[in-house]
Structure formats: C-alpha cells, structure tokens
Point group: C2
Chain length 119, copies 2
C-alpha cells in the first residue's frame, strides 16, 4: 500500500500516513470516497472527522466532505475503511469547496454530526 517501508500497521494501531489516501467503501463494495486528511481534537487527540474527496486527483480542485470518524470501521481484510454511509448520502452532506476554507466551528461541526446522526 505504501512505498515507505517504515509505514505500517498492527492489529490495533495504524500510522496516520496509512490512513490518509485510503479508499472508503460502503455496502456492496461501493466506493464512497478517499480519505484526504484527518481532523483531530487538539487537546484530547481524538480523531473527530475524516475529510473525504472523490473523483480525480486527491484534493486538487475538489470539494471536501467531513465524515464523523464513528462512521468508519477498519476492515482488516480490505486494509481500509468501511462505512454504512452511501455515496449519495456523502454527496448530499455538508461540505466545503476547494476555494473555500472550512472553519471547524462548533456550528459547522454540529451540522455534520446532525446530518449523519452521530454524536
């Protein structure tokens, strides 16, 4: 998966650089998106969102779709993440464009959490 031999994973742990760039699959192996970055809580160090993009090249001219981390499940066999969210749901979700900065305000965060029904 990676060119860098010291980037790897074990049963419990995974390096951030193995998560970023990983494809996310939904039901029926539908390709839902690709993880372009993680958004962390500065203090607790918990991953709050995985920001996804889809189509074309990673993060270039793309809209960005924050998905609550709780919606992702690591699939050992796949070596990637699964979700119960569909591509259609993601396309209708709160997102920000390539030209726009997403401010991770409490309010924007709430809109994402509300949309996916995750708290």
């Amino acid at each position: 998966m990676s060119q860098n031999p010291d980037i790897h994973e074990t049963h419990d742990m995974i390096a951030s650089d193995m998560v970023v760039g990983t494809d996310v699959y939904g039901a029926g192996d539908e390709h839902v998106g690709k993880i372009e970055r993680l958004i962390l809580e500065k203090r607790g160090g918990r991953v709050a969102y995985a920001v996804m993009s889809f189509g074309g090249f990673l993060g270039i001219g793309h809209d960005h779709y924050p998905l609550p981390w709780q919606k992702l499940t690591y699939d050992e066999r796949l070596g990637g993440y699964r979700t119960d969210v569909t591509r259609e749901q993601v396309e209708g979700a709160p997102h920000y464009s390539a030209e726009e900065k997403f401010d991770w305000s409490a309010d924007k965060g709430r809109r994402v959490q509300d949309y996916y029904g995750v708290w």
Copy 2:
C-alpha cells in the same frame, strides 16, 4: 505554516497534515524533535503516539521516537506542540531505526509508556 490554503485549524480542531511536520519544543524553548507521523488506535480513533525524528531531513535515514500523545500540549501562540520531556530523555527512549520496522505490539507500546511514565 502550509502552502495548502485548505489546511488549517480552529480553536479546537486541527488537521492531521498540520500536525505532521510540526516542531516540538520543551522547557526553555528547547527543540525536542519534529512530528513525522501519528499512530492511531484503529478502532477508537484516538492518537496514541506522535512519532518524532530529529536532525536532517524528515524521516530520511533517521531513527524514529514514539512519544505518547499525552506528553504533548498544543500551544496556540507557538502554533505547535510543547512537551515536558527533554531532548535528552527522547534520545534515551525506546526507538526504532530507519532500517527497522517498529511493530506496534502491546509489549513495545508498554516499553514506551513505561519509559515516559504515562498510562
């Protein structure tokens, strides 16, 4: 800090690509190292370790030093992380070489946690 206009932070949240590459400072502004990657718990999504390197270029021919995330505190003014660990402590800590894969086994994890006295 970054060339990419959509990589950013707010009061509470920070993107993983802003954390990676960030310098870590100890007491008296001593440069302790640079964060080269994060190690996440696959399931909970908590950041367990920040892997640090120091000297020369990021991750090229370097040893890698996992530091428990609890030892890092975000410093708004600095736009980076502070720690109460000294450079000398890090140099004496469990680490793995550039040629060696660090297997994030429970046992290796325990050695790191024990060394820094963090659980």
